[in-house]
C-alpha cells in the first residue's frame, strides 16, 4: 500500500471515529461533539460564522502583507548588508525568543479591542521569523552567479532583475510559508484573548457557555483556513520552484538526460 493511500485511510478513519466515538457514548458530547452535530451547529449559524470568517480573513490579510512584505523586505536589506547584519541580527534573534503574546495587552491599550490590535500583534508575530529566514536566505545566493552576469555585461539594475530577484524566490516563498502560518496563529489567538469579533472570538464565547458543537465548528473553520493557506503556498512553490533540485522529479529527469546523452554519443 502506498504512503498516499495509507494517509487517506488514516484521515478517513479519523473522520469516522470523530462521528462514532461520541455517538457510542465513549466520550461525552461536551468534550467531543460528533462531526455531524459540529457541522449542524456551523450550518445553523452560517451567517454568524461567515461574518466571523470575514473579520478574521480581513485581519489575516492585512497582517500577512505587513508581516511577510515587511519581513521579506527588511530581511533582504539586512541580509545583503554585512554591517547592518552584524548590528541587527543579535537584537532580532533575542526578540524572537520572547513570548510575544505578553505584548498583546499593551496593544489592547494602544489600539483598542478591535481589529487593529490583532493586526498589530499578528504582524509582529509573523514578521520576526520571516525576516530572519529571508536574511539567512539572501546570503545563500551564489556570488559566482553575479560575477558571471557581470562578465556578460550585466548592469547593476540588470543583475538585480535577472539574477538577485529570481535567485531570492525560494527564500521569499519559505518566508511566506513560515510568516503566513504564524500570522493565522497570531490573529486567532489574539481574537480568543480579548475581542468582539472573529473566529477566535466565537470559539472563546461558545466555550464560556459550554456549547461544544459551536466551539468545534469554529475550530474546524480555522483548520480549513490553515489547510487552504498551506495548499496555496505549495501550489505557488510548485509553479515557481522548478529549479529546486532536491525533488525526485528533478533527479529522474537528470538521470534520463544522462542516459540520453550516452545513447546519442554511442
Amino acid at each position: 500500500m502506498s504512503a498516499h493511500t495509507l494517509r487517506r485511510l488514516i484521515i478517513l478513519s479519523l473522520i469516522v471515529l470523530w462521528e462514532l466515538v461520541p455517538r457510542l457514548g465513549l466520550i461525552p458530547e461536551l468534550f467531543l461533539p460528533s462531526l455531524s452535530s459540529t457541522l449542524a451547529a456551523g450550518w445553523n449559524d452560517a451567517g454568524e460564522y461567515g461574518h466571523a470568517l470575514m473579520v478574521t480573513l480581513y485581519e489575516v490579510s492585512i497582517s500577512m502583507v505587513l508581516a511577510c512584505g515587511g519581513g521579506i523586505l527588511c530581511g533582504a536589506v539586512v541580509g545583503s548588508l554585512p554591517k547592518l547584519r552584524t548590528l541587527m541580527m543579535p537584537i532580532v534573534s533575542s526578540l524572537y525568543a520572547i513570548p510575544l503574546v505578553i505584548l498583546y495587552p499593551v496593544f489592547n491599550v494602544w489600539f483598542g479591542i478591535g481589529s487593529e490590535s490583532k493586526i498589530a500583534f499578528a504582524s509582529i508575530y509573523g514578521f520576526l521569523p520571516t525576516m530572519l529566514g529571508t536574511a539567512a536566505g539572501i546570503q545563500t545566493i551564489d556570488p559566482q552567479l553575479l560575477v558571471a552576469a557581470r562578465s556578460m555585461g550585466a548592469t547593476l539594475t540588470q543583475r538585480l532583475i535577472y539574477v538577485i530577484l529570481p535567485a531570492a524566490i525560494p527564500t521569499v516563498l519559505t518566508g511566506l510559508r513560515i510568516g503566513g502560518a504564524l500570522v493565522i496563529v497570531g490573529v486567532v489567538v489574539s481574537e480568543m484573548l480579548i475581542s468582539s469579533a472573529g473566529i477566535g472570538y466565537l470559539i472563546s464565547r461558545y466555550r464560556t457557555i459550554l456549547d461544544s458543537p459551536h466551539v468545534f465548528a469554529g475550530v474546524l473553520l480555522v483548520l480549513v483556513l490553515t489547510i487552504a493557506y498551506s495548499a496555496l503556498v505549495r501550489w505557488v512553490e510548485r509553479k515557481a520552484a522548478i529549479w529546486q533540485t532536491g525533488t525526485r522529479a528533478g533527479q529522474n529527469a537528470a538521470d534520463d538526460a544522462r542516459t540520453g546523452a550516452i545513447a546519442s554519443a554511442a
Binding site: R150, Q158, W243, A253
Partner: protein, 270 residues
C-alpha cells in the same frame, strides 16, 4: 629560471588584430591594515590570435586574478591589458567570453535560456537569440538538450552549456578559469578533447587556467608557468606536439619532458 626576454619582446604590429591579448607590466597589490600583499608582480605576456595558451602555477599564484583582469572583472593596481589592441577596463562580451569553474548557470533558466542570457541583456530580438543559442548548443554537442534545466544535466553537460554561453556572442577571445576542475577524471578527459574540437572549429584565442599539469600540456600551444606569491611568469613552454592531440601522446617522451619541466618550477615555489 628561464630568462623572460622572449616574453617581453612584443611585435605590436602583428598582435593587435581580433583575438590578440597583450598584458603589459601588470601588478596587483592588496592593501591590508598591516602590510601590502603583492599578488601579481610586473607580469607581461602576449597571445597571438587563435592560440591556445594555458596558465599554470601553484595555488594563490594569481593566475585566476590575471585571467579576471583580461575579462575586465578586476582592476589591476598598475599596468595595461589590451584585447584586440584596445584596453579592457570593464567586461566586454563582444571581445571576451568567460567560462568559470562552477558552470555558473542560472538554475531557474533552461539550458537554451542560459545560453541566450548575454543576448537577452542587450535586448536582442527573441528569434535571433533562439537561433544563435541553437547554433552554440549544436557546436558544443548539446543539440536537443535546450529545454532542460541545469539540475537535469550532468557536470560535463553543464560546462558545455557554459562554453556555449561564452561563445554565443562570437567573441574572438575565450577565457576559461579552471573550467573542468570540478569534473571527474573521465569526464575531464572527454571535455578536454571536446574543447579542442570546438577551438579548432571556431579559431578562438583561448586562455585556460588550470592546476593540472597533464591538462596544461595536453591542451596548450603554449604553457605559461607562474610562481607562488608574488605571482610572476617564470617559464614559457612551446608544446611541439602535433594536432589533433591524442591519448597516446600522454605517455610519450615529449609530453613527459614538458610535464617534468613545469613540475620542477611548481615544486620550487611551493
Amino acid at each position: 629560471m628561464q630568462p623572460l626576454a622572449n616574453v617581453t619582446s612584443f611585435k605590436p604590429a602583428t598582435t593587435t588584430g581580433a583575438g590578440a591579448i597583450q598584458v603589459f607590466n601588470v601588478s596587483q597589490v592588496f592593501k591590508t591594515t598591516t602590510q601590502d600583499v603583492v599578488a601579481l608582480d610586473n607580469v607581461s605576456l602576449e597571445v597571438t590570435p587563435g592560440r591556445f595558451v594555458v596558465l599554470v602555477g601553484p595555488s594563490g599564484c594569481g593566475k585566476s586574478t590575471l585571467l579576471m583582469m583580461m575579462a575586465g572583472l578586476r582592476e589591476q593596481t598598475s599596468g595595461t591589458v589590451l584585447i584586440n589592441g584596445t584596453p579592457i577596463t570593464k567586461p566586454d562580451p563582444d571581445r571576451v567570453g568567460v567560462v568559470f569553474q562552477e558552470a555558473s548557470l542560472f538554475p531557474w533558466l533552461t539550458a537554451e535560456e542560459n545560453v541566450e542570457f548575454p543576448l537577452t541583456l542587450r535586448g536582442t530580438p527573441k528569434a535571433e537569440r533562439r537561433a544563435k543559442a541553437q547554433d552554440a548548443l549544436k557546436l558544443v554537442g548539446l543539440d536537443g538538450f535546450g529545454k532542460r534545466h541545469p539540475h537535469e544535466l550532468s557536470g560535463g553537460m553543464k560546462q558545455r552549456v557554459s562554453i556555449a554561453r561564452g561563445l554565443v556572442q562570437n567573441p574572438p577571445v575565450l577565457l576559461m578559469d579552471e573550467p573542468f576542475a570540478a569534473l571527474d577524471e573521465q569526464t575531464r578527459m572527454t571535455m578536454g578533447d571536446e574543447l579542442l574540437r570546438i577551438w579548432a572549429a571556431t579559431g578562438k584565442t583561448v586562455v585556460f587556467v588550470t592546476h593540472s599539469l597533464t591538462e596544461a600540456v595536453y591542451l596548450a600551444d603554449e604553457v605559461l608557468v607562474m610562481s607562488a606569491r608574488p605571482g610572476r611568469i617564470v617559464d614559457r613552454l612551446q608544446v611541439p606536439l602535433p594536432r589533433p592531440r591524442t591519448y597516446d601522446m600522454l605517455s610519450g617522451e615529449t609530453f613527459g619532458t614538458l610535464r617534468d619541466r613545469i613540475w620542477r618550477h611548481i615544486r620550487k615555489s611551493a
